[in-house]
């Protein structure tokens, strides 16, 4: 067995190909098929574009889409907060390593766990409101999870709180890899702290920020199920105020027995994620190049 035979490589990749075909290939073909059928159980008659027509004319679907888009507003806050904290950490003040350990903690806790805790914290007569009332900010004591005007913002707060931890670590890691001599030079030229941050550090952060933004957008468009499932009582409540596309698919499949409808929405989400792959790969490639450079 000195020489690798011509077929050997295929043996090595065969399990990989089989696994990917099963978990990705098969479903991706079938969502297209199902999306054109009125599926009952495992199959059903072809009905052309009827599923798409039904979905696109349904207010609930558009409401779900709107909620995903609204949640994107979290991204600027995540970037700003992460950047601020990372920059301050980069000063390497006394105890900065300890701060770093603690500040990453939100990302360690699983989403369902943290959502349960937040749900209790933000109850109408819960601790957060109690403190707010106590310090005289009664007008801020909202019904955080019980009001359909506020619940989505509470979800967003939770997303910012948790996902920023990743931003902090990513940004800090990038800063620590920067060439310090530039900072020293700027200092010698009399640039103050803000000037140095703004003109020396931030420009060099562009690539990693871009990467973080693209990943966060993908997360918010397609991976917030656990947040809304826990906060919205499993149904995107109160009312339909925290309904998002993922939950719409879940409900159509599991709760209302409409696999065809669920498939049509899956197809649309899949197409959107394809659009996002391009910027993601570009950002990742640049981030990697920068790291190895």
């Amino acid at each position: 067995m000195n020489q690798t035979s011509r077929f050997a490589p295929y043996l090595y990749v065969a399990p990989l190909v089989a696994l990917l075909l099963f978990v990705f290939g098969y479903p991706l073909v079938r969502i297209f098929e199902f999306s054109f059928k009125m599926v009952r159980g495992i199959d059903g008659p072809w009905i052309g574009l009827r599923n798409y027509e039904l979905v696109l004319n349904q207010p609930l679907f558009w409401e779900s889409v709107r909620h995903n888009l609204l949640l994107l507003l979290a991204v600027p806050f995540m970037v700003a907060w992460s950047l601020l904290i990372a920059v301050v950490l980069y000063e390497r003040l006394k105890g900065w390593k300890l701060y770093r350990v603690v500040l990453f903690l939100p990302y360690i806790l699983a989403i369902p766990i943290i959502a349960v805790i937040m749900k209790k914290l933000f109850q109408f007569n819960g601790p957060v409101n109690e403190v707010l009332r106590w310090i005289g900010l009664d007008f801020l004591a909202l019904d955080w999870i019980g009001s359909s005007d506020v619940a989505l913002w509470t979800v967003m707060l939770l997303i910012i709180w948790r996902e920023s931890a990743l931003g902090i670590i990513l940004f800090l890691a990038r800063m620590l890899s920067l060439d310090e001599s530039l900072m020293e030079a700027a200092k010698l030229e009399g640039a103050n702290w803000w000037q140095r941050v703004w003109h020396v550090i931030v420009p060099q952060m562009r690539v990693v920020m871009e990467f973080y933004i693209v990943t966060s957008v993908i997360t918010i468009l397609s991976a917030v199920f656990a947040y809304v499932y826990m906060i919205g009582g499993g149904r995107g409540g109160p009312g339909t105020s925290t309904m998002v596309v993922e939950l719409y698919i879940f409900n159509a499949l599991i709760r209302t027995s409409l696999p065809g409808i669920a498939a049509a929405v899956s197809v649309m989400l899949f197409l959107v994620s394809l659009l996002l792959i391009v910027p993601l790969f570009a950002a990742r490639r640049r981030a990697n190049e920068e790291e190895t450079a």
Binding site: M38, R40, G41, I42, D43, L54, Q58, P59, L60, F122, Q123, F124, N125, G126, D143, W144, I145, G146, S147, S148, D149, G233, G234, R235, G237, P238, G239, T240, N251, L253, I254, R255, T256, S257, L258, P259, I261
Partner: protein, 444 residues
């Protein structure tokens, strides 16, 4: 002890309809072992919401001599799908546990269950009250097993504090509003519970829609399109919710509290009145030293079903392809014999679904009184068990939440319900037909 039936059941149905029908068509199932004669298989559920039922089943099987009965306790998640799967491949158990209404009607429509009339004696079926919702095409498909009276409860201590008569619950809507006013002045939240998880809206719908309809079949018309939620009497229940909210009668934490913790608030006297379910009463009565009273929803409506106690039940049925339907029927009759009825109570502390049950064994006055009024008096079925899944998810639960919150008016809720019902018809043209047929049995 009450458990989670209202929600798990609905979730389960929706899951299993896809899974069950799916496997059904696939027809690929492990074969269950062949049965000898005089051997009955029974798949059941209920220990989950009524602890002690297992002991009852074991005991009943042991004492039954006409056949060997093999019971199997099913998991909540697979009660429906496992049965439908097995039925599709001709391997269903002889006896199957069945939730009420649409939860077992689907199996009927798929041809997996057989009519019990003519198989089980009429007297037994009647006494067990499987409710009207077990009827389709003139046939009955379940024998009742244990009941679930759908009730309102009130706290007698809270009533006393507010200067109300703790032994007299309000019966009319005006009396109810007056009581709310007094409770409010006494610093007690008059009415409510918890609606964060949405199920409160399901219970409320079951109680309140009944006030303006003459039959269960009339309700079906709201989904099939023969009637219209936008007509005032079909959304008046949501308008009433709106009024209660405007009057400030709901407890302040209602929106961020879930269903069962909400009932605890009533038991604790923090909320005056609200919705509950009968199987909670023995425990709640004990916890409050008998200071929780049961009541029918106060009446505002003019329908024939208004002001009547609502009675729902869990039941058992016989599979279409049961090897020995007669033997299965005999066992169901045996479970309804006086000795077995007593055994249900002894094992679970709850009541069996049978009008002939000897109530002298009940010690708690509140429980006894409830059974008298809900179980033994004329009663009506629980209308929320008629609701299609899509309507349940997109209208039944969200509308009540949004009205209680003040986000939409009762009228807008009616509009939304109309739209969702219409969407359901568009999405499920095939199921609409079965609903129309069903309406005939339900007096539409």
């Amino acid at each position: 002890m009450t458990g989670k039936w209202s929600f798990s059941r609905r979730d389960v149905l929706r899951t299993s309809a896809a899974a069950g029908a799916g496997v059904a068509l696939g027809g690929m199932l492990p074969a269950w072992r062949a049965r000898a004669a005089a051997e009955l298989n029974m798949w059941w559920w209920g220990e989950q919401e009524l602890p002690g039922l297992q002991a009852f089943v074991d005991d009943s099987v042991k004492k039954y001599t006409a056949a060997t009965v093999k019971p199997m306790l099913q998991d909540t998640a697979v009660v429906i799908s496992q049965f439908q799967t097995a039925a599709a491949s001709g391997e269903a158990p002889d006896i199957q546990f069945l939730w009420n209404g649409i939860y077992h009607m689907e199996s009927v429509w798929l041809g997996y269950l057989q009519p019990l009339n003519g198989l089980v004696s009429d007297a037994v079926i009647q006494a067990s009250n499987p409710t009207l919702l077990s009827n389709f095409g003139g046939n009955t498909y379940r024998v009742g097993w244990y009941p679930l009276p759908m009730i309102w409860v009130y706290n007698k201590d809270a009533f006393d504090k507010a200067g109300l008569d703790g032994d007299k619950a309000p019966q009319t809507w005006d009396e109810f509003l007056a009581a709310c006013e007094k409770l409010k002045s006494a610093g007690i939240a008059p009415v409510g519970g918890g609606i964060q998880d949405g199920y409160w809206g399901e219970w409320y719908f079951g109680h309140a829609l009944a006030q303006n309809v003459d039959s269960a079949g009339e309700t079906i018309g709201l989904f099939t399109g023969e009637r219209d939620f936008r007509e005032p009497k079909y959304h008046e229940h949501w308008v009433k919710l709106e009024e209660l909210r405007k009057a400030g009668f709901f407890n302040s934490e209602m929106l961020s509290t879930e269903l069962y913790p909400g009932i605890d608030l009533i038991v604790a006297g923090k909320v005056g009145m609200g919705l509950s379910v009968g199987s909670r009463v023995p425990a709640d009565s004990k916890a409050s030293n008998g200071r929780v009273g049961t009541m029918v929803m106060p009446v505002y409506g003019k329908g024939k079903l208004a002001g009547q106690p609502i009675f729902d039940s869990q039941g058992l049925g016989i599979a279409a392809k049961a090897k020995d339907p007669k033997g299965a029927a005999a066992f169901l009759e045996y479970l309804q014999s006086p000795d077995r009825l007593k055994a249900v109570h002894e094992s679970t502390g709850w009541i069996p679904a049978n009008k002939n049950f000897d109530v002298s064994v009940l010690t708690d006055a509140t429980v006894k009184d409830m059974w008298q009024r809900w179980g033994l008096s004329p009663n009506i079925p629980y209308l929320s068990n008629l609701v299609p899944g899509q309507f349940y998810e997109q209208a039944l639960l969200p509308t009540a939440q949004q009205v209680v919150e003040g986000k939409i008016t009762g009228e807008q809720a009616g509009e939304l319900a109309y739209n969702v019902a219409k969407e359901w018809r568009d999405f499920n043209p095939d199921i609409v037909e079965n609903y129309k047929k069903w309406a005939v049995d339900l007096g539409g």
